[in-house]
Symmetry: none
Subunit: 130 residues, 4 copies
DNA sequence: GTGGTCTAGACCACG
DNA sequence: GTGGTCTAGACCACC
C-alpha cells in the first residue's frame, strides 16, 4: 500500500496518516475526485482501529484535502485548489526557520547556498509530516 | 523579566521556557557562565509550578546549554561551544522544509528569493521554540 | 436536465434531489399536474440508484409537493396550494436566524439594511435545499 | 449547569454541546480566558462519554472559540476576536434564507417587516445550534 | 488533576 | 458496502 506507519514517529497515528495522504494528494499520486481507501479497509490494511482512521480523514477533510459523500466514500480534492494555500503555509514555515537561523548568526548567503547545494545529502523524510 | 509564557502555545510549558532560555544564551543576552535565575525564583516570577521550571532546566542542561554546580546554582554555557551544533540543527530543519517545498512544486529559486526578500514582513516568532 | 447533483454537498442525495424538485415546482418551472420524470428515467439520467430517487419522491410527496397515481406516474402539486405553507416555513427559518443574529449583537437595522442591500453579491445557492 | 442536552434533537451530541458552549462564550456568559469545565467533569455532569465531550471541545477549539493548555485545562477565547467572523457567518446564513424567500415570491418588504415585527411570537431556540 | 490518543465494539443513516 | 456517532475503558504526557 501507499501508506506506511512508523511507530517510532512521535506524532500521533492519525496525524501521520493524514499527513501522508495529504502528500499523496498534493503530489498528484492520488488524482482529483479519486476515491480514497474506505475507513474500514484502511484500518484493516494498517492494522489500526477504524476510529483512528476516521480521525485522520476528519483532519484531512477539515484541511480541504478531501470530501466525503454519505454512503459512497471519500474522495480527493483537486490539488490545484489547495496547492496555493499549502505553498503559502510552507513559505511561512520557511520564514520561521530563517528567522531562527538569522538569530544564531547564520547569514542569508549561507542559507541560500545551503539550499542550492543540498542535493545529495538527502534526509529520509519518509513518513515525515507534509 | 526576559521570559514570557504564552498559554495559547501548543507546546508544553517547560519546552517553551527552555526554548526561550536557549535563545537568550545563544544570542548572548545571557553571557557565558552567567548565573541563571534559580528554579524557585523563576517559578514565582512566572507563577508556575517549580517542577515545571526544573524540567525546563533539565532539558536545557541536557542540550548542553547550561551546567549546574551543586549548591551554587545553574550557569549558562559558552555560546561559542554550542552554536555550531545549533546551526547544524537549524540547517537540518531548513533542509526538511526545503524538501517539503520542492515536493509541492516550489523551486529553489522561489525559496532563495523568498529568503532574501522577506525582511519587513516579519513573523512574530516571539515565544517560538528556538 | 434541470437537476444537477453536487457530490460535495453534505446533504444526502435524496434530500438534494427532492429539494431541487420542490424548488422547480414552487417556482412554476414545473407546472401543476405536470408529470414528473419516472423513477427509472431520472435514476438513469443522474446515474443514481433508483432506490435513492424513490426516496426523494417519497419525501417530496410527504411534503405535499406532488401526488402519485397508481400505474400512471407522479405529478406536480399546484404551487398555489403549497406555497403558503412553504412561505410560513421559510419565515420560521428566518426567525431563527434573526434570533441568532440578535444574540451576537447584530441589530434589526443592520439585518434589514443587509437584506435590502444584498443584491449583487449573490451566493451560489445552486443546489441549496429549498 | 449551563448546558442541557436534548435527546430529541437531530444533531449529534457533540455538536449540540459545542454549539451551546459557543453561544455562552459569544454572549459573554463565559468571559475571556475563563476556564471551561474539564472534559471529565462535564462528561459526568451530562452523563456522556468523555470522548464525546472531547470531540465537542475539539470542534469548539477548531472554530477558535477556546484554547487548551496541556495539563491545565481549557479556556474561553476572547469574544471580541471571534465575534466579527461569527456575525459574518450569520449574515451569510441570512442571505441564503433571503434567497430562498425571494424565490417563493416573498418580497424584501415582507421580510423586513417580519423581522421588525416578530418580537412576541418567539421561538424556543433553547438548545438550538448557535 | 488536566488534555490527548488509541482500541474495541456497537449502532445508525445513506446508497 | 459507505461514513458518522457514541460508549467503555485504557494509556500517556503535562502540571
Amino acid at each position: 500500500m501507499l501508506i506506511e506507519i512508523d511507530y517510532r514517529d512521535k506524532r500521533p497515528l492519525y496525524e501521520q496518516i493524514s499527513g501522508k495522504l495529504e502528500e499523496l494528494i498534493l503530489c498528484g499520486v492520488i488524482s482529483a475526485d479519486e476515491a480514497l481507501p474506505s475507513v474500514r479497509s484502511l484500518a484493516i490494511d494498517l492494522s489500526i482501529n477504524p476510529n483512528t482512521i476516521q480521525k485522520a480523514y476528519d483532519a484531512l477533510e477539515q484541511k480541504g484535502m478531501c470530501y466525503s459523500v454519505a454512503g459512497r466514500g471519500r474522495f480527493a480534492a483537486a490539488a490545484d485548489e489547495v496547492l496555493p494555500a499549502k505553498k503559502r503555509e510552507i513559505l511561512d514555515e520557511l520564514g520561521k526557520v530563517v528567522d531562527k537561523a538569522l538569530k544564531v548568526g547564520l547569514t542569508r548567503e549561507e542559507l541560500t547556498s545551503y539550499i542550492n547545494g543540498e542535493k545529495e545529502e538527502k534526509y529520509d523524510t519518509g513518513n515525515q509530516s507534509f
